[in-house]
Symmetry: C2
Subunit: 272 residues, 2 copies
């Protein structure tokens, strides 16, 4: 495994420490937990909390700030955080108007966020949630029943977070988050596998002329392996699946292109 | 060569087109040239222009905008733009208060920016320049006489760009840019080589446990090849060279960490 690293057992802790140290004007860390919260807590506002496994940076800590998340909970790499840090995060950001949990559709995340939400409700904190499931590639997978939640989650953070910042109530913020979920679709591909530090080996192997289509954010294999094609054809292939899933005809659409953390920007910008 | 790509001959053109199409509120492209300029030209302000080879994204087009650059000129990958597009860029952004060229210290860039500046001066546009040479790794290299200009250039764009935005005159903006140049030092390392699309092959080879220390932004080999060490030791090794070059004792320091375009954020955040 070739990575810039100190200690496999400490990658998450050291990463969260560095993130809050780099941006103290925006971020704080909860003592004892890998939970990043806004430095400027705002009373009377619906609080948004999200999170999941580490290894998806800037998700989720990088989306904490004014107009987006109030807290991000980081599990180990590609592993759901347990209910306890989520519960601590909810209590820390609760500001009198309830808390919305934005959860990506992975079995562990859904279960642990739900449990944490119930614990917080027993403390009298109103908690609601949305489950993001934007990935059209697979219906059921190793990690999920139903569609997976992937990059489209960023748009939920952005749009629901902006609504919460205006002072909207919990039902309204949940409704707008759900509207984003209902309307966002994505699909991914990769030309290289990724390597989880704790495993030390790539999740799968690709030959020099192959791409993996429909890959998930944990580097789990996708729906098909094909010969690598020109960028435009790759985009056509992904768009065909996305548009077959939801008809965007007649609607304005926001387009999000992301490189899964290690694709040079040049390869994301091509346009004719 | 495994890259997401359409056509080796078109990577720069298609990248610039995509960049301005993605951010029309900030960026425009000059007809016929790979020159990105601010969408909101501001009269009476000193204009900043920079540029160089492509392949360093978000440099340089990504630094065009309010408080930073007014124009960025993109050459072919790792190749200086010729004087003509630089000259066209200068004319396009000149707004009555002169133009400052921020040039990284590579022989081709220095020569071509100087020639373009002279052409613009013959048109009556006052032009000044600073040469950025922040890289402490090597004194002379394949690409440069003297120290190379690398990531520290971003701080010149940011600080001199902010000064220009306040309405400062050309001499003042040049002086503050030069002050940044005089005080910024950087050094790089890499665990993988990069591949120029037109060549199709990595610039050098590293074995599974090796790192290249003192690497330049063109993937040119560095000063030494060593066994890959823990992140903290790598940082110590780079900092020792930086601090030996300039004594920062008693000064406040801004720290810039960057991943050369393809390093996951996690590997950049580690902190103890």
């Amino acid at each position: 495994m070739k990575k810039i690293i100190n200690d496999v057992a400490l990658v998450e802790d050291q990463m969260i420490l560095g993130m809050v140290k780099a941006y103290p004007q925006y971020l704080k860390k909860l003592d004892g937990y890998n939970v990043v919260v806004r430095a400027n807590k705002k009373q009377g506002k619906v609080a948004l909390i999200s999170g999941g496994g580490s290894g998806h940076e800037p998700a989720h800590g990088g989306y904490v700030g004014t107009g987006m998340l109030d807290a991000a909970v980081a599990g180990a790499v590609f592993t759901s955080p347990s209910p306890e840090p989520i519960y601590e995060g909810i209590k820390a950001v609760s500001a009198g108007a309830g808390v919305l949990m934005v959860v990506k559709n992975y079995t562990g995340d859904v279960m642990n966020f739900e449990m944490a939400g119930e614990m917080a409700e027993m403390d009298g904190i109103p908690v609601k949630q949305v489950i993001v499931n934007d990935d059209v590639a697979v219906k059921d997978s190793l990690y999920t029943v139903g569609r997976r939640g992937v990059a489209g989650t960023v748009l939920v953070h952005k749009i629901a977070g902006a609504k919460a910042e205006t002072g909207a109530d919990l039902d309204t913020v949940q409704a707008i988050a759900q509207k984003v979920v209902d309307n966002v679709r994505t699909m991914g591909m990769a030309i290289q596998p990724c390597t989880v530090p704790a495993s030390g080996k790539p999740g799968f192997e690709l030959s020099e002329d192959e791409m993996e289509v429909g890959i998930g954010i944990h580097g789990e294999p996708g729906t098909q392996r094909e010969t690598l094609r020109p960028a435009d054809e790759v985009v056509d292939m992904l768009m065909e699946r996305i548009l077959a899933d939801l008809d965007y005809t007649g609607h304005e659409v926001a387009v999000l292109v992301n490189g899964s953390g290690a694709t040079p920007l040049m390869e994301l910008f091509y346009c004719k």
